[in-house]
């Protein structure tokens, strides 16, 4: 473990990513305490440029709402959606992939056809359709992001399980009469954890991008402010008031970049042989 920490620390990109992510998490947790007022509230005159008033350092939007307060409150939505939808996607993909890889044969065939089918459907278009039909809410957003994100997990886990299944220690577990589920859960999956962790960190980044894209198109939860919504709301006035779109967009960019850097750092640390490999 200490070797892992050391190799993570030696990776400057991963370290920068970690620092930025911790910062974003702190803002998401404590920010709303420092800015207890609703980000939807009008605080100043509309279109107040940034850096002109210390009370609203990033200026106000078309309705006089504080841009900084919106970014701080939006951090919660972005991180929460990114994290929860990834957990749901893992909860779907890991069992499916394990079953396909472990049992093989027809079960594998059927499950992989099913997975391929979901991979062929244009994912963002499907997410749009699902959120529009289920009505925009934080639940429908998480559900639709999870629905379009689980297939790569299933494929990765299947591949790992497939190669680990024939190892001697797994065969030994079979001989001792352990149940299939126990073998999968206790013997195989713990050894397949590294690539799953790497994939999961990149999935959180993709989920944040997806959530912001949906909110940008007006499919965000109408009760929660999010970065994508802010960029979407400022879109029509971008010529007059650049700051309304620039700052929330930077927040998305930084968070996603941080997660990607962490994913790469983890990849280098956990799979030293594959270091510097492509995605």
């Amino acid at each position: 473990m200490s070797g892992f920490v050391r190799s993570m620390l030696r990776n400057p990109g991963g370290l920068i990513g970690l620092v930025v992510l911790v910062l974003v998490i702190l803002v998401a947790i404590f920010g709303p305490l420092a800015f207890p007022n609703s980000p939807w509230r009008m605080v100043q005159r509309p279109f107040l440029p940034p850096f002109s008033l210390s009370a609203v350092p990033l200026g106000t939007d078309a309705l006089g709402r504080d841009v900084l307060s919106g970014i701080i409150h939006g951090a919660r939505v972005s991180l929460l959606v990114g994290l929860v939808s990834t957990i749901v996607a893992l909860a779907v993909g890991i069992p499916l992939g394990s079953i396909a890889g472990y049992f093989g044969g027809r079960v594998d065939d059927a499950l992989m056809r099913f997975t391929e089918f979901f991979q062929t459907i244009p994912s963002f278009a499907l997410a749009i359709v699902l959120v529009a039909i289920l009505q925009p809410s934080i639940y429908s957003i998480v559900a639709s992001i999870a629905i379009v994100s689980w297939p790569p997990v299933a494929r990765l886990v299947r591949g790992e399980v497939l190669s680990l299944r024939t190892r001697e220690y797994v065969q030994a577990a079979v001989v001792t009469g352990q149940t299939h589920w126990r073998i999968i859960g206790r013997e195989i999956l713990p050894n397949a954890l590294s690539p799953i962790i790497v994939l999961a960190s990149l999935m959180v980044a993709t989920a944040i991008l997806l959530e912001s894209s949906l909110s940008f198109l007006g499919l965000g939860d109408p009760n929660l402010i999010s970065w994508g919504y802010m960029v979407g709301a400022g879109r029509t006035v971008v010529r007059q008031a650049w700051w309304i779109t620039v700052f929330p967009g930077l927040a998305i960019l930084l968070s996603v970049l941080a997660l990607n850097l962490i994913g790469e750092g983890l990849n280098d640390a956990l799979n030293p042989r594959l270091a510097k490999g492509g995605r």
Binding site: E116, F117, Q119, T120, I121, P122, S123, F124, A125, L126, I128, V129, L130, A132, I133, L134, Q135, A205, L209, S212, S213, F216, L217, G218, L219, G228, V231, G232, R235, V238, R239, W242, T245, V246, G249, I252, L253, V256, L257, N260, L261, K276, G277, G278, R279
Partner: protein, 323 residues
């Protein structure tokens, strides 16, 4: 090769059928009784009209029969009627399809060309400042939200520098013809196509670099070196040709993302394609149109996947030797 193509087409048709069935059930999931919603969209809501609609669209029939009618309808490219736009969905889509094809294909060409080029340069000069700069830029564009990049491009190139038009397909009211028209459309195309292209360029550059470095370590490259071949020739003829294969299969996998990129980019640049149509359907909650666009997008992705599969077969040097 022929049987391979036939096999792929059959597989594609099966997937498309499954998507159509999925679509059918999604429409049923949409809020409200479809007949009442349609009546509302048409601006009337009396019972007789609703009953008429129900009969006209077969909504009074049992579910399996409705499904059969729906699939049959799509087979003859009947995707239903959009009451909001007062036109058949298929006509609306067909009108917009060429613009989307132009945009996505240009973006695809830009990303593949520059992605492979930059990835190749990064691999060739691995470990130098050029490599670091290219990879840093790739990482940055990979993390940038597409819709925001589009807006920033407008801010920089249209508002600040005033170099390029920021919206639409052509200059309204200019009525250019011939070469002037082509140039006009081209000028409008640059920003949206490059915006989509940059994201994919980042991915392809990373993939090309990793793949080329991997191929460079293989034995047959050592043999080529031992033969005394010039490095430039080895890189171009042996390394790149093999290294490009995973990039092509990645491009196939990405075609779905390309469609998603079109929705966002067309929305920002007011590009009159099916992505923009999807956004309009979304804003007006026009579910018939929304799902129609979805089916067409899925079909486009399937066709694109088929093409990349074929290209892969053609350029894979190992298959050439086997044949």
């Amino acid at each position: 090769m022929l049987s391979f193509v036939a096999q792929r087409i059959v597989k594609g048709v099966i997937v498309l059928l499954a998507i159509i069935v999925l679509n059918f059930f999604l429409i049923r999931l949409a809020p409200g009784d479809p007949a009442v919603v349609m009546a509302g969209e048409a601006g009337a809501s009396d019972q007789i009209f609703v009953a008429q609609l129900r009969e006209k669209f077969g909504l009074d029939r049992p579910l399996p029969e409705q499904l059969f009618r729906y699939v049959k309808g799509i087979a003859s490219f009947d995707l239903g009627f959009s009451f909001r736009q007062q036109a058949p969905v298929s006509k609306l889509i067909l009108d917009r399809l060429p613009a989307t094809l132009l945009l996505t294909m240009s973006a695809f060409a830009i990303s593949l060309l520059f992605g492979i080029l930059l990835g190749g340069i990064a691999a060739r000069f691995a470990g130098t400042w050029a490599d670091t700069a290219i990879m840093a830029a790739a990482l940055l564009f990979y993390a940038t939200p597409l819709f925001w990049l589009a807006l920033m491009a407008i801010l920089l190139f249209s508002v600040t520098l005033d170099w390029l038009p920021s919206f639409g397909y052509e200059t309204v009211g200019a009525n250019y013809t011939g070469l002037a028209h082509v140039l006009d459309v081209g000028a409008h195309l640059i920003l949206p196509a490059t915006t989509i292209g940059l994201f994919f360029m980042a991915t392809y550059a990373r993939m090309t670099r990793a793949s080329m470095l991997q191929v460079n370590r293989l034995d047959f490259i050592k043999t080529a070196r031992a033969k005394g071949l010039a490095n430039r020739l080895i890189q171009r003829r042996h390394v790149l040709r093999n290294a490009i294969l995973p990039v092509v299969s990645l491009a196939g996998v990405h075609s779905g993302t390309l469609v998603g990129g079109a929705v966002l980019t067309e929305t920002v640049f007011a590009w009159p394609g099916i992505g923009r149509l999807m956004y309009e359907a979304l804003i007006q909650r026009d579910y018939n149109l929304l799902l129609g666009v979805f089916v067409v997008c899925s079909a486009m992705v399937l066709i694109f996947n088929l093409i990349t599969d074929l290209v892969y077969r053609v350029i894979d040097p190992r298959i050439e030797i086997a044949a």
